[in-house]
């Protein structure tokens, strides 16, 4: 569905996307993970034919965004990072005008709108103006709107940023349903739990480049250990304690507020820490996540 080779996007002398390759297949759920400024949104905008690429090649649905933008956009759905709803119109009217942009007949839009309102749990708000709706409702409406044309590919740029946990889970559930209906999803996020939940495959981006790619599980297996021990020592004491524990782990990361030990058996490691007479303020064992992968690959945390 989407093939990029050596894809580049430059703003003046700054390369926002600096030669990336990826291939997204039909029905796949593909993620772009990375911190703010990694080049995710620029990549999305190029795929959505809203931003001309500066180098390399890009094919979406077999067409070139440079020359066939309107034809490609007619088969895409886009959920942008910031809401672009008309706040002076009602929920239903927002769906209606969007459908008209795709030149869908009025009757068809009305039919689809009913189903999409149901899907987005907005049926009882259909005649309310959009302005006063909550952030979660607006996001759901934006997703519903992007589906009015029944797109082959749905592009979601940080769909849940700024939402409370309940709203996020509701959205994930809706996206999961779309995926099971065979819609190709392209998702950017800086939340690793979101990527783990939704993506079959993903690439990790940093500074305009792809630093790793694979399924979430494969990435964790390849770049991290099974478990992670988090030791929190007193303020400013993390660095001082590294020497006493670093031989216990395959790899050690020191963060400002804690030390991360990458190990196979977390409980055994904590036992050994205590045997050595060390007294961290807290110690916990957890499974490795994509956050650890990212930390390992770039030396930085995802969300700062």
């Amino acid at each position: 569905m989407i093939v990029a080779e050596g894809l580049r996007k430059a703003f003046g002398s700054f390369a926002a996307v600096d030669g990336v390759d990826f291939r997204i297949g039909k029905g796949e759920s593909f993620g772009f993970l990375g911190p703010n400024g990694a080049g995710k949104t620029s990549t999305m905008r190029m795929i959505a034919c809203m931003s001309p690429y500066s180098g390399g090649s890009l094919r979406v649905l077999g067409m070139d965004p440079m020359t066939q933008g309107p034809a490609i956009r007619g088969r895409l759905g886009l959920v942008p990072q910031e809401d672009t709803l008309d706040e002076e119109l009602t929920v239903l009217d927002n769906l209606y005008i969007y459908g008209r942009y795709f030149d869908l007949p009025k009757k068809l839009i009305r039919e689809r709108a009913e189903r999409l309102l149901e899907f987005a749990q907005l049926t009882d708000r259909r005649n309310d103006k959009v302005g006063p709706l909550s952030g979660g409702m607006k996001r759901r409406l934006t997703i519903a709107r992007s589906l009015i044309s029944e797109p082959d590919i749905l592009i979601l740029d940080e769909p849940t940023t700024g939402l409370d946990p309940q709203a996020r889970h509701l959205l994930w559930d809706r996206l999961y349903r779309l995926k099971s209906q065979g819609v190709t999803l392209v998702i950017t996020t800086h939340y690793m739990d979101e990527a783990e939940q939704l993506c079959d495959r993903l690439v990790v981006m940093d500074k305009g480049r792809i630093v790793a790619h694979g399924s979430p599980r494969a990435l964790i297996a390849e770049h991290s250990t099974r478990e992670v021990v988090e030791l929190r020592f007193a303020v400013d004491q993390q660095q001082a304690n590294v020497a006493s524990v670093e031989d216990l782990a395959e790899r050690v990361e020191v963060l400002p507020d804690r030390i991360l030990l990458y190990v196979h058996d977390g409980d055994a490691t904590i036992g050994e820490v205590h045997r050595r007479g060390l007294l961290p303020e807290s110690a916990l064992v957890r499974r490795s996540t994509l956050e650890d992968v990212f930390l390992h690959l770039t030396g930085r945390t995802l969300v700062d």
Binding site: M50, Q68, P70, R73, G74, T84, D86, I97, D103
Partner: protein
């Protein structure tokens, strides 16, 4: 442009959405559309005009209300076109970001601009239509040429809207709009031969006024409702407005691309 259904062209969808949105909120503006000319023509045209005519023995060869009405008409078109191209354009780019929504569909950046300018033209036509009805009620229309006001007002609206749109799409802060109104819109509205003939101005100001767009729209619309066409002057007015519109559109196009095609 393949794979498009054989329905409306993309630019037409962009104009349509403005009309559709307006149809949802028109009730608020319809009273002012009629009330403004009614009150102004009653107060200034008839009230003040009686006084003026008694002392000045007509203005520009006609009764003051006949002189004033087309000036007010052009001034109103001007203000409506500017008003709808300042905050609303900024809102669609920056606050509500609805232009970005359009750009994610088969519409492209030129369609978005055509949508706005096309709607500006239609608004100009609607406002001048209402204004003409009120003028007819006051008996200040003296020629069938008044029908030509409609297309001229539509064209003038584009000429006023385009450069304003270019500015609204270039600036990142709305603070500039206050200055635009205070030092641009207000002076033009007052001194473009709207309320008194250009001859009342000192010579150097007359030259300045000749360079500004509203004056030429006032001239043309006044020619139409009075049915008097000073040929050379009318030609100058038409050419001026056409060039002004063309340059404005070129700037607006550039500004839209720079701001929204990144």
């Amino acid at each position: 442009m393949a794979a498009q259904r054989a329905g409306w062209p993309t630019w037409f969808r962009a104009v349509w959405v403005h009309a559709y949105t307006y149809s949802k909120v028109w009730k608020g503006s319809v009273t002012t559309t009629f009330l403004f000319p009614l009150l102004y023509l009653a107060a200034m045209g008839v009230g003040l005009g009686t006084l003026v005519d008694r002392h000045a023995h007509h203005v520009g060869g006609v009764a003051y209300v006949d002189f004033l009405a087309p000036g007010l008409l052009a001034g109103t078109i001007f203000q409506v076109a500017v008003n709808e191209s300042t905050y609303p354009v900024m809102a669609r780019i920056k606050w509500m970001r609805t232009y970005w929504a359009m750009l994610a569909t088969p519409l492209d950046i030129d369609d978005v601009l055509i949508g706005h300018l096309g709607w500006s033209a239609l608004r100009g036509g609607m406002v001048s239509g209402a204004f003409l009805l009120v003028m007819e009620g006051f008996g200040v229309i003296h020629s069938w040429w008044a029908l030509a006001v409609l297309p001229l007002a539509m064209a003038a609206s584009v000429a006023f809207a385009a450069p304003t749109t270019a500015y609204a799409a270039t600036t990142t802060s709305e603070n500039g709009f206050a200055l635009l109104y205070r030092f641009g819109v207000m002076p033009l509205f007052l001194f473009s031969a709207t309320f008194f003939p250009l001859g009342q101005l000192p010579v150097w100001l007359r030259a300045v006024a000749q360079c500004t767009p509203l004056l030429h729209a006032v001239n043309l619309l006044r020619d139409c409702t009075l049915g008097i066409f000073p040929a050379t002057q009318a030609l100058v007015d038409v050419v001026y407005l056409a060039v002004f519109a063309a340059v404005g559109i070129a700037f607006a196009r550039r500004a839209f691309r720079k701001r929204m095609v990144l």
